[in-house]
């Protein structure tokens, strides 16, 4: 039913469910209903039941992990036979990289105290790698494995490291430095 003039669009009286007092009442009823269903479902589910009041404080803390990712080792032979889409990353220091590195290897140095830089991460990703193979110093711990796990933790898929690092990859014959 429309009245004259601009008031025509307005409803005569706000329907009950729009009035503030009713809205508040309805909201409160929903909360009560929710509480009722919650308590009932809790009682009826013995496998998933929790106590209404926790008796022990929750053990909220766990040891902080160093690495969130995993990386598998590749043998030096496999690492020498890389295909398209494989990106080799050299995790060693600048001097070691300059002294020798496999052709085409990306230099992303690993630091035990600082996580891999955004810029380094970007350089790896910009190559759109199918697989990332990290070459380290072959020490114990191997910096290649450490960087590989760090990259995997940042979300890069298919990360590997060369077992034995650069010394293993170069093989027995080491050229003059």
């Amino acid at each position: 039913m429309t009245g004259p003039g601009e008031a025509g669009a307005r409803v005569r009286l706000a329907p009950g469910y729009l009035r503030p007092a009713i809205v508040l009442r309805d909201a409160a009823l929903v909360v009560l209903l929710g509480a009722g269903i919650a308590l009932a479902s809790n009682a009826l589910r013995p496998s998933r039941r929790i106590a209404l009041v926790a008796s022990q404080p929750y053990e909220v803390l766990v040891p902080c992990p160093e690495h969130k990712g995993t990386a598998s080792p590749l043998s030096p032979a496999e690492a020498r036979a890389l295909g398209p889409g494989d990106v080799l990353v050299d995790a060693r220091s600048a001097e070691e990289h300059r002294a020798w590195h496999p052709p085409g290897a990306l230099w992303v140095p690993f630091d035990y105290l600082e996580p891999v830089s955004r810029e380094g991460l970007g350089r790896v990703l910009s190559r759109r790698p199918r697989r990332v193979i990290v070459l380290g110093d072959g020490d114990n711990p191997d910096s290649g494995e450490q960087l590989a796990r760090q990259l995997a933790g940042k979300g890069i898929k298919n990360v590997f490291f060369v077992a034995g690092g650069a010394p293993a990859l170069r093989g027995g014959s080491r050229g003059t430095p």
Binding site: V23, L24, D26, A27, V30, R48, I50, Y58, C64, K68
Partner: protein, 160 residues
């Protein structure tokens, strides 16, 4: 202002907002109902509620989310549902702000809570603020929400 409030188009604009909010809440409440113990641990991690209230909150909240989500999608007591949504958003934003203030960076892996995949940050705060704004829009401007209530209203008035 009156004219702005009375514009009939609001009901249509609010519809996608309502559907979006409703589905966000329905999606969010699912895992909390499925595993109350894990959600209770999440709640405890925020260190906001005293221990005695953690379990009750963890049990009741997901069901209120479910009911409010269904109501706001279906259009039953939409304003009340939107009010609940807004109220819960205020609570979540407060908890988030508190956690950020405490420096609780849950993505560092130091917490037993499984919500590491969704680290909290300023972005989360902005997202929640956006949802709060949407729900406030629905509360204030949706005068004749499309949905169940309107259908019922139409059928009852047409019979008179």
């Amino acid at each position: 202002m009156r004219k702005l409030l009375d514009w009939r188009g609001h009901a249509w604009l609010c519809l996608p907002a309502r559907l979006y909010l409703g589905f966000v809440f329905l999606y969010a409440c699912w895992h909390k109902i499925a595993d109350p113990a894990a959600f209770a641990l999440d709640v405890a991690t925020y260190q906001l509620l005293p221990l005695q209230l953690v379990n009750l909150a963890a049990l009741v909240l997901p069901w209120v989310e479910l009911l409010a989500g269904v109501m706001i999608v279906v259009g039953f007591r939409t304003r009340a549902a939107a009010l609940l949504v807004a109220g819960m958003m205020v609570v979540f934003i407060a908890a988030l702000g508190w956690a950020l203030h405490l420096g609780l960076d849950m993505s560092c892996g130091c917490f037993a809570s499984a919500s590491e995949a969704d680290p909290i940050s300023g972005k989360t705060l902005l997202r929640d603020g956006g949802w709060l704004a949407l729900s406030l829009y629905v509360i204030i401007f949706d005068r004749r929400p499309l949905g169940l209530d309107r259908i019922v209203e139409r059928t009852t008035t047409s019979t008179t």
